[in-house]
Structure formats: structure tokens, C-alpha cells
Symmetry: C2
């Protein structure tokens, strides 16, 4: 039996707590961060609060081993007196959707092997994937995640706008979107790159620009130039 | 029985031909575009050649109904004497990977109902999805496809570069990439948007910029600004 306390009430806290509660070998307590004077002792205390609250919340916890769940905050930001660690699930969480942690990568960091093995146990019961990642690497993963998640989603937003403009249903693009995301399981992104920018097909690029609004042209040109520049680097 | 001739030897021609060959109710002939003097008659003649060859190739064909497969070329670009149409499968094709046409959207256009229904029959036997799309709409779809496919793939390329720079395996991002692509089946891209740009979290944005090369910073800032601008439009 391993005892876990989760502090926080956001998406990550809620999804982790809901999943741990279903596991027989875990004793789970979830606590609101306004309730820090009544924290029970636990093998692992998980702080899942907003990045800028991590230091303050952790400073009030006397439990033996405290971790946070953030991609962009170093382990040293924890101000508890006991030992420290990081338990960062690399996935996009939203309120509406239940999370299947199976195969989700967990970036783990701890000050010693015993603590690390506790975190590994938690990932195992969630059927997640274990990665040992230090604080600097984790920050870089967080930036890379912005590109593949936030920025990619913005590409979808612009496409959606173009579809609306020409009275085309956006759903027509979903098979292509899915194929694009699956392709890079077998090919590197550089190998998977296609399109007018990759071919430097200036005629098609000009035809595309003619269909776009000023703001859309702006971003189209910027990314096209970036693809061309990356092509030269190969 | 419906007879089909496919002209061309590229990815689209090859995948379409391979699939039609397996269908009992279709009589299929595939012909190289250098072989235009020996084209048999057919119910549907499909020109699957590069965009800039469509006019010339079509001008040499006397068959009754000729279509091209391009997203960015108007129906009028066909120069055959018979009737014209478009049969544009909206998917990313590559040599290495077999294509499952099930659920793939086909953008159809024709000059009359009889011809359109022949194209609909072909889509049905492929188990694809039928969309009636005129030439202007199809061009807009082609641009939108550049955003969700080529530009999204470039986001993956930059993320891959960041991972290499910090010695992190790119595969750690694949579950997030997949989730990002699946999310917009239930949410509009605008609703699905998250991240520091959406929240205008200038501290995290600055931390991210500190980790990036000059060229990466440049594109990060551009897309961040675009997300901020789109946020204001809501």
C-alpha cells in the first residue's frame, strides 16, 4: 500500500485523484490548497496547483516527500523541508474529457533513488510510461509541447477560419489532421514534410496567398519561410 | 460494371489504381502519361499528374468524361473536348504507406448530374465520403490543408529540433500530438486552444524564449502573437 495526498483542484489534480481512487493499492486523499493545515502524512505528496503557487504551497508542507506536476517549474522551486521531486504527466488535460493515463509519458525527477522508485510505482499503477527527465530537459519538453499542441491547434483554428470563409465544413479536414499526427510515428517530421513550401513551389504559394486575409498571409509566409530555411539546413 | 482509366504514375495514381483493381465492379486500366496515344475508352478517365501538366495531358484525351485529382487546379483547366470534372481525395499520400480510403473525403465536381453520379459511385466503392465542392471552395480547402498538414508537420519538426538540442526522445511527444489531433473532433479549434499565448502568460512566454534559438524564437513569437490576436477577435 502506498499513500498519496494530492493538493489542488484543477484539471491535473482532479484527473490524477480520480484515477488513483480506483486503485486498490493506493490510499488517496485529495485536499484543496486552502486547506493546508490538515494534510495527513503520506508516502508521496503531490502539489498540482498553478505554477506560481508551487513555492508558497510547498513551503507549508512538512510531509517527507513532496513533488509538483509542472512542466515549466524546476524541482528547486519546491520550498518544503523534506525531499523533493517532480511528477509531470505530459498530456493535455481538459475538464470535459476523462483522461486515459495508459501510455501517457510521465517525466520523473527526484533527489534520491528511493523517492524516484515511489514515483515509478505510481506511474506503473497508472499504466503510464516512465521517463527520467531533469529540470532543464523538462523545460525544453514544455516548450516543444507548446509547438506540437498549442501552435498546432492554432493551425487548425486558421484552417477553420478559411473553411468558414468559403462555406466548407471543417470536418472535411479531420482525416488529414489525424493522418498528419500518425505519420510521425514511422517517419521523422523532417522526412514527413511535404507541400509547396518544401518544394519551393512559388506559383502555388502565390495562389494560396491570393485566397487569404492579410493576417493569414502574414503567418502563411512566416511558416513557409521557416520550412524553406529548415530545408536548407538538411 | 464501370470502366476507369487512370493516367499517371505518382502517389495518387498508384494508390487509386491499386484500390480500384481490387474492386469486382470496376474495370481498371492504368496508363503512364507518356503513353497517351493508346488510351482505351472508359466511363471515367482520371488524370492524376502534376498540377502544371493537367491542361496539356487533358488536351490529348478524347474520352467522354475526364477528371483531374488536384486540390488547387480549377475544373476549367481541363482542355479535353468531352465533359469535365474533379475527383480530389483530401488526404496526404506517400509512396511508403498504403492508403485506406475508408472515410477519406472526396471533393467532387462535374458539369452535369450524370457525370457527378459516376464519381459518386467510385467514391462509394472506395468507402470514401462524398463532398460536393466547387473549384473555388476546393482551392480554399487546399490552403486549409497546408495549415493542418504541412504547417503542423513543421511544428513537429521544430519540436523535434528542441528535443535533440536537450537530449530528449521526440517519441515522448507522440501521445500529446495524437490527443491534440483528436480533441478537435469534439471541440472547435478555438475552444480547444490552451497554453501561455492563449492566457497571455508573459512570464512563461519569456522563459520559453530563453530556451530557443534565434530562428525558433522568431516563429514562436509570430504564432504567439497570432493566437493573441485571434483571442481578441472572439
Amino acid at each position: 500500500m502506498i499513500s498519496v495526498v494530492i493538493i489542488g483542484s484543477g484539471n491535473v489534480a482532479t484527473h490524477l485523484a480520480a484515477t488513483f481512487l480506483k486503485v486498490d493499492t493506493i490510499a488517496m486523499t485529495q485536499i484543496n490548497s486552502r486547506n493546508l493545515n490538515s494534510i495527513p502524512p503520506a508516502d508521496v505528496t503531490i502539489i498540482a496547483v498553478s505554477d506560481n503557487a508551487i513555492s508558497e504551497v510547498s513551503s507549508k508542507i512538512t510531509n517527507s516527500f513532496v513533488v509538483h506536476t509542472s512542466g515549466s517549474v524546476t524541482m528547486d522551486a519546491l520550498k518544503n523541508t523534506g525531499s523533493k521531486g517532480v511528477f509531470y504527466p505530459l498530456q493535455s488535460f481538459s475538464k470535459e474529457k476523462t483522461v486515459d493515463f495508459t501510455q501517457i509519458p510521465f517525466c520523473l525527477e527526484a533527489e534520491n533513488k528511493d523517492d524516484l522508485s515511489k514515483l515509478e510505482t505510481l506511474v506503473s499503477v497508472l499504466n503510464g510510461k516512465i521517463y527520467h527527465i531533469n529540470s532543464e530537459q523538462r523545460k525544453s519538453i514544455h516548450v516543444a509541447a507548446v509547438f506540437v499542441n498549442n501552435f498546432t491547434n492554432h493551425m487548425y483554428t486558421i484552417a477553420d477560419d478559411i473553411c468558414k470563409q468559403y462555406d466548407v465544413p471543417f470536418e472535411i479536414l479531420t482525416p488529414l489532421i489525424e493522418e498528419t499526427s500518425l505519420k510521425i510515428k514511422n517517419l521523422s517530421p523532417k522526412e514527413a514534410q511535404t507541400g509547396p513550401a518544401k518544394r519551393n513551389d512559388t506559383e502555388t504559394i502565390q495562389n494560396h496567398l491570393n485566397l487569404l486575409s492579410r493576417a493569414q498571409q502574414d503567418i502563411y509566409l512566416k511558416i513557409t519561410q521557416s520550412i524553406l530555411d529548415y530545408g536548407k539546413k538538411l
